[in-house]
Symmetry: C2
Subunit: 342 residues, 2 copies
Amino acid sequence: MMTLSKVRGLILSILCAVAPGAAHAEFNVKEVGSFYIGGKESTVSGQPVSEIATSPGMRPFKYDPNGEFSVGQMYVQYVKLAAPKSKYPILMWHGGGLTGVTWETKPDGRPGWQQYFLSAGYDVYVSDAVERGRATWSRLYDGAPIFRAKKEGWELFRIGPPDSYNADSVKRVAYPGTRFPTESFDQFTKEFTPRWLTNDAPTMAAYQQLIDRVCPCIIIVHSQGGFFGYTAALNNPDKVKALVLLEPSAAPDAAKVEAGKLKDVPILALWGDNIAGHPLWANFVQPSSRLRDAVKSAGGDFDWMSLPDNGIRGNTHMMMMDKNSDEIADIVQTWLTKHGLQ
Amino acid sequence: MMTLSKVRGLILSILCAVAPGAAHAEFNVKEVGSFYIGGKESTVSGQPVSEIATSPGMRPFKYDPNGEFSVGQMYVQYVKLAAPKSKYPILMWHGGGLTGVTWETKPDGRPGWQQYFLSAGYDVYVSDAVERGRATWSRLYDGAPIFRAKKEGWELFRIGPPDSYNADSVKRVAYPGTRFPTESFDQFTKEFTPRWLTNDAPTMAAYQQLIDRVCPCIIIVHSQGGFFGYTAALNNPDKVKALVLLEPSAAPDAAKVEAGKLKDVPILALWGDNIAGHPLWANFVQPSSRLRDAVKSAGGDFDWMSLPDNGIRGNTHMMMMDKNSDEIADIVQTWLTKHGLQ
């Protein structure tokens, strides 16, 4: 006898087999470009002036580290199609210690979600949040930056269980059946970027400016981006036409927000494998779980999908990079289509 | 009577009027993506472990700043056309304290050179050099980073003369007839990124890996990128089919390199206005001038074009962002076409 979850998995696989089709097909582009948004001007003073040369053989010149600087801006890169099939663009917001590269070509060289959703007919905006990637960074943030070691990436992203990382790549032990391309893990770690723990406010302010500029839209978020995505939807329920959350690592407190504001925002949360019983993830999932319950109690449309409960096993926290990431993208595309968003 | 430079300017404007045509037209894309190249693994030890939370409401978890890290890699983003008109891709290498954003949409919102050359039919690879932008950065570099203040950007990039910057934007004095969109200068400064003075070696190593991977190619460099571009051509004269230098800020010592290696590499150097007599730029231009003479003595094809000497006045160090940047791109496109590269 089939369990409910197996039936759902079967329905899903039928849907996915027929719906999305040509992942990564060619597309006609009207414009590829970028802009900065958010930030403010800050001033540095009292630092010593020195002489520097910035290339070999160059005559030294005066370097003055004092003065006015742009601080706290966000970078947004877009590809606009000549004939988008969706009337709403997709905004892709990355997670902690990462950048917009999350959505680009995967560490193993196969096309990523940016390419997938462009091929599917959406304009796509990929951002580097404040302090990350092309957003650049500043001396003027509060506190010291933190740095993600390879071990943390391997274990926090559930490629392997706690204490399964080894500096010697052949001795690393992944979860059985992991979908992460483990041979490309060291390549993946080249994306890791320093971060601060003090920039949530300018980050959210910049995301709000982004929404004001380019929405109505669909927002896809990952991990740390979850908190920003939930907040964006709560503050802009008219402009966020759908919110797709890939393992949101946190959520606004369900007891303190007006969850009813989200009742007309379709929400899909996707969760990978090996969360139950995991010392960190079993906790990280709770704020989203509570917010889901509050949204559903208010009459909202919050789809909560555990991939393993639907027969898809081995996905990590980086499901947009896993070997079956097209299959995961198909689930999102099918869900968006079902909600009339393409 | 017309001077020689006026005649050259006239010929140029006729060429440009007929040659390039549809700047920024739509284009059909096969793939948009990225990869990391270069770098090595480095280890940190002896740092204190702490507890952190990376989002509001999250249960704190252990943060260990020790372990293995990827250091010194470069980021490369590409757009591959479905039907490129050129058999060679263009690689765009940015200058100091900047990133690949140099080549994207300009600070005033108009399309940049990435879009121009995609529309013209070239595959385009835009890189963020080691330590910049999406290449991310590391604690493990030698020395301290330096930071570009707005004043340095305004004056070093010759938007205004020395000591013409003012913190109050309405009090800034630009060179008469500047082509930089001065109303967008503060927006431009959001691109400025911290840099180190110690990463030339891993940067050049990563550029070499990039050449090994995607060339034969055309390389367009700006400012600090000039030294790397000259070096790349000297080391790969068979693979660098053309080198276009926008105000290279330095060059390998003409007395120490084998300039004859460049005799079959077409080279175009473009220089903006207000260089003669400038306390820094009158010097910065010299190493390139000496290398040009050596290359030409060896029978090479090194075109040296001062824009004002050709009747194009007011261009700054950021000529790919100036208001007439399409006109400058037209000069490059005409020159590439003349050399059989499209």
